[in-house]
Symmetry: C2
Subunit: 226 residues, 2 copies
């Protein structure tokens, strides 16, 4: 099919498709003539995956490139490709005032994350979870622990025990749902979309549940439609 | 204190503080002379909150402004201010190829979210959760449902029932932890940081749990240190 049909079938603008081709997110079509290429169902499928990673997962183009490279490289194990997708979901680490690109001044300023990082690492060892020493989620978790400590939410990683029990059970269900007999591409796609979408789903559901509970506790006299 | 001391105590660069002052995130100091202002502990405290919202929550400057306006406006109820913070965490809705600002072509292209949105709304009614009809998390959840359906993860919002049972319990604990007797600012700060940080924490823990479960299922023969 022509690029215009690919655009129509995928719902992705032609200009955006061309951008993905230039950035290497989408493999080139079959060249029929200069400035004329033929695209097929694999392109539609790949565009669907790219859009889901960007729209649902909020991934940057660079993270999508990394994730797709792991999906496409048959020498990367399922487990390792999964790790790449998980890292892609972690916000880029230490964000020094991103809007200005400046770094905090003062070498005396507190470094809240060092203690929290050690505590998160100890906590993971205690739980005997097998995770890479450099998994991006470790740092992310340490940052949230430091913030919770600062604002009076308690002072140890044991805050996370309830979340971890539940997350382990849920992750077991998700990983168990994947059928390793299906072809590698389908398996990877499903694993990655599950990683991305269930995380967003839980975040959204959590906020809805907080709103409901806050209504029960603080808002009963106000009118809110169900 | 001078702005240089405020920078040192908060760990936020002077240029960044000036930017926050211009954008109205931080209230002005007391003017002592032209180009010389005096800052106090309230400024340190506010900077701590701003940094946590940006670094831990990943909020945009615009979302921080909105959230702080609700925190500071004593006429906004705790419940409503909570809602503002929850909306701030939802990614801005329909992202039409953000890297180009272009919109998808083709009015015939599928609109996956309409059916999913109706289903999410029905599902919330069935659960009798009191949430605003325009809560941002509704749309976000519909988008994730559409993505999960597309990639073979099942076809109804009942996928979310387990997550919702757990989220409701967890949200009840969080809301119950807040002490409504403390002053409004402290209560709001704690509520908002809890909303932001526990969401990030769950996301990070979930990814660590997925990595562990994926190791158990797909990676046992590879060497991964604990």
């Amino acid at each position: 099919m022509r690029i215009s049909e690919l655009s129509e079938r995928s719902g992705v603008a032609v200009a955006t498709i061309k951008y993905y081709l230039r950035e290497g997110l989408l493999h080139p079509g079959l060249t029929l003539a200069p400035n004329r290429a033929d695209y097929d169902d694999e392109h539609v499928r790949r565009l669907r995956l790219i859009r889901a990673l960007i729209e649902v997962g909020g991934l940057s183009i660079a993270s999508v490139v990394q994730t797709l490279a792991a999906v496409d490289d048959a020498s990367v194990s399922i487990h390792d490709a999964f790790g790449v997708a998980q890292d892609a979901l972690s916000p880029a680490t230490p964000t020094p005032a991103p809007e200005l690109g400046s770094t905090p001044t003062g070498s005396n300023s507190p470094t809240p994350c060092t203690d929290a990082q050690l505590e998160v690492d100890r906590w993971l060892r205690r739980r005997r979870w097998k995770v890479r020493p450099d998994a991006a989620a470790r740092t992310e978790l340490a940052e949230t622990l430091a913030a919770l400590q600062q604002f009076g939410w308690g002072h140890s990683a044991s805050l996370f025990d309830g979340l971890a029990d539940y997350a382990l059970e849920q992750a077991g269900l998700e990983v168990g749902y994947l059928d390793p007999q299906q072809d590698r591409s389908s398996l990877m796609e499903q694993a990655i979309i599950g990683t991305v979408a269930f995380e967003q789903a839980y975040g959204a559901i959590r906020r809805l549940a907080l709103e409901h509970q806050s209504y029960q506790r603080f808002g009963r006299r106000r009118s809110v439609s169900a």
